[in-house]
């Protein structure tokens, strides 16, 4: 198939693996920031084939996983507002808050609906004028333009019963936060292909410039990732630190200006809380003054709550790249995809779920 099989074929992948194996490496730590990469690396078997040669570390790149329990509690409060319909992407339904989850609240009779597109939420608001339709806005730079579009559409159509709970987050500030914490010694970032299709390479430049860490924006097939690893290794051998694009069939130097323009029109940056990391300055998005009336927290009184992590769960350490799922005593036992305790086991792109389904840990 065009754009799939070519990147999955055995021959080219094998050739890249041989090239990587031939390098004299000091087992460098490369972090894949994005959950889709985590899944691809485990599912294709790249992690296993490069074991002992390259240390691939999963980062905080799953928007579901990094949503704090405090924010999940807020979403639960929103669902409790009289006459509210809370709309959400499916993965958020099962994420545990402090004492409940949207799934449990739905079973209790709250009107919580899974949508596939943000447009579904706008359509629902138009169809149900007596209800307050709230979109649970979760996602990184890839998803944010679709949320901005929904808000701009609500504005255009003068809807007064459409709101969002903005939990959107930005990837580059999280990367620098990890480096600032100093817990982890990284030699390269594999940057997310989808996010970068929107934002382009520029937002990562400060990472290679200020921290001297090379970044490669990679696609999601086995050969994409292997090629990205090879590009990072090339840097190791003396090349100047910079941001490189491997995923050229999707990512351009300028990103997607139309999408970026729309996001900038609707949102401005604010500080945001990340599960396992804490508050990261300028890493979240809130609605600009013009669109503020669509902010559910502006319209209704939503309790702020406090953050709380389940005991024994090490999702925070896993999201920071300093622990592996196998290090967690709950992994595969009390915490399981059918009854997840931590968020990394809930989302299909969470590091724990990916290791559970595609890793080789004993369960």
């Amino acid at each position: 198939m065009k754009y799939l099989d070519e990147f999955r074929a055995r021959g080219p992948a094998e050739a890249l693996i041989e090239k990587i194996q031939a390098r004299n490496t000091d087992r460098p730590n490369f972090m894949e920031v994005c959950g889709t990469h985590t899944v691809a690396i485990l599912k294709s078997g790249i992690k296993e084939r490069l074991r002992g040669k390259i240390n691939l570390i999963s980062g905080p790149g799953c928007p579901v996983c990094v949503t704090s329990s405090q924010d999940v509690d807020k979403a639960i409060s929103v669902a409790g507002i009289d006459g509210a319909i809370l709309t959400t992407f499916g993965d958020m339904i099962r994420v545990p808050g402090t004492s409940s989850s949207l799934e449990k609240e739905r079973a209790e009779g709250r009107d919580i609906r899974v949508i596939y597109s943000t447009m579904d939420a706008v359509a629902m608001a138009e169809k149900n004028p007596s209800k307050s339709v709230v979109l649970l806005a979760v996602g990184f730079e890839t998803t944010t333009p679709t949320i901005a579009y929904a808000v701009s559409l609500a504005y255009e159509r003068k809807l007064s019963n459409f709101f969002i709970l903005s939990l959107n987050k930005l990837i580059p500030p999280a990367m620098s936060a990890l480096l600032e914490m100093g817990e982890i010694n990284l030699h390269g970032f594999i940057c997310p292909g989808h996010v970068s299709t929107i934002i382009g390479p520029d937002p990562y430049r400060f990472i290679s410039r200020d921290y001297g860490i090379p970044c490669v924006i990679a696609g999601f097939e086995a050969t994409d990732i292997l090629q990205a690893i090879l590009m990072l290794l090339s840097h190791q051998e003396g090349a100047e630190s910079r941001v490189m694009i491997q995923y050229k069939r999707s990512v351009t130097e300028n990103g997607n200006p139309a999408a970026l323009g729309l996001v900038d029109e609707v949102f401005e940056r604010n500080d945001a809380r990340w599960r396992g990391i804490g508050i990261i300055p300028e890493s979240g998005l809130k609605l600009r003054e013009k669109y503020k009336k669509y902010d559910v927290e502006d319209r209704f009184d939503i309790p702020q709550g406090t953050d709380h992590e389940p005991s024994d769960c090490i999702c925070g350490r896993i999201l920071r790249g300093i622990s592996q799922p196998g290090d967690c005593k709950l992994f595969g036992k009390r915490c399981h995809p059918d009854h997840p305790i931590g968020p990394c086991m809930v989302s299909s792109e969470g590091t724990c779920a990916a290791h559970y389904f595609y890793g080789r840990e004993e369960r």
């Binding site: 198939m1 799939l4 999955r8 074929a9 055995r10 992948a13 094998e14 693996i17 485990l42 599912k43 294709s44 078997g45 790249i46 992690k47 296993e48 084939r49 596939y116 579904d120 086995a222 292997l226 995809p337 059918d338 299909s348 559970y356 389904f357 595609y358 890793g359 080789r360």
Partner: protein, 338 residues
């Protein structure tokens, strides 16, 4: 049918309308099924001495009509295939309809027509049935249960607990066509394409295979949970480790593309007209040859092997040559797919 074109509660009431439904809609369709026409409380059937296979399944697929089939075809194929998967020749089948009040009789007629077509094709006799009607809103249009009986030749021993070290694993054709074809019709998922469900009766294909060799140890149709579930269950029941080669698994482009878009794994997607066979190594070649002579087995190929005894698991050799454990899909991946 003279008075209304919709199914009424009274059609299930046992009175005049019930009789009319059977007489006007069901019996004419099953003209070639003499035992059904006796309309006794139970069908009286003859079987030769020996072992019988007996199976039942219920069908709730949504939407009822999908590219390449409908709930009627599926309901017959499902039970026929379950019987065939233990090497049985399907003989008699029962059909029970649970109908939502208000379903159009024309729709019901179309479903019955496609059931008759499968019966004709497979030589299976529909011998008994039942019709219930429930108030509007109690169920979604139409659910069907079928149960079937088949006879098993004495020299066959086909069971999921029978996989043996060294067995070659043969896949009869591309995987996941049914699941993706049905999904493509769902609200919120609509995507264009020419993909048809693989829904088909496998009894003739199985007959060819069992005529060729008696060394077929396991047969399984990878329905709910797909190939991943089928192989994991076999590994567990037989107490063996299975090695599956990703590169060898036949998958249609459309299925691969849809899975890619929706974040699904083709190994988890159900088929309704495919089988996996565990065949002793020395017979695998001739079995594949004979399978390929049948339209339903034309893409048959070896996808893996039973590698050892004792460790019940399925290993997947990925395209880039790494091995990972192939796990069961989780929970309600694709509700109402069959």
């Amino acid at each position: 049918m003279k008075d209304t074109d919709k199914v009424l509660l009274a059609h299930g009431g046992g009175g005049g309308l019930s009789y009319q439904l059977i007489k006007d809609l069901i019996l004419p369709a099953f003209e070639q099924h003499p035992i059904l026409k006796e309309l006794d409380d139970a069908a009286r059937v003859s079987v030769k001495n020996g072992r019988l296979a007996f199976s039942t399944d219920s069908f709730v697929v949504k939407p009822m009509f999908f590219p390449g089939g409908d709930i009627g075809k599926l309901a017959l194929c499902g039970t026929i295939n379950d019987l065939a998967m233990v090497g049985a020749k399907p003989m008699y089948i029962s059909v029970a309809f649970i109908i939502e009040e208000g379903l159009s009789l024309k729709t019901l007629g179309k479903v019955i027509e496609s059931m008759e077509k499968v019966a004709r094709l497979t030589g299976v006799q529909v011998v008994t049935g039942d019709t219930k009607v429930v108030e509007k809103g109690s169920l979604d249009q139409l659910f069907i249960n079928t149960a079937g009986i088949g006879s098993i030749d004495d020299d066959l021993d086909i069971s999921s607990s029978n996989a043996k070290v060294g067995d070659n694993i043969i896949m009869s054709g591309t995987i996941g066509d049914h699941g993706i074809a049905v999904l493509s019709q769902r609200e919120g998922f609509e995507f264009q394409g020419n993909l048809l469900s693989d829904c088909a009766p496998l009894n003739h294909l199985v007959s060819r295979m069992t005529e060729k060799t008696k060394n077929i140890h396991v047969l399984r149709d990878p329905t709910r949970g797909g190939v991943a579930s089928a192989l994991n269950e076999i590994a567990l029941q037989s107490g063996v480790e299975i090695l599956l080669k990703e590169a060898k698994i036949p998958i249609k482009e459309e299925v691969r593309a849809a899975c890619e878009m929706l974040g699904l794994d083709p190994l988890h997607i159900p088929s309704e007209g495919r089988l996996v066979a565990f065949v002793s190594e020395e017979d695998a070649g001739s079995v594949i040859e004979t399978m390929r002579e049948d339209p339903l087995g034309k893409d048959a190929s070896i996808v893996g092997q039973v590698v050892s005894q004792g460790n019940s698991r399925v290993l997947l050799e990925t395209i880039i040559g790494a091995k990972r454990i192939l796990t069961l899909p989780k929970g309600e991946l694709l509700p109402r797919i069959c």
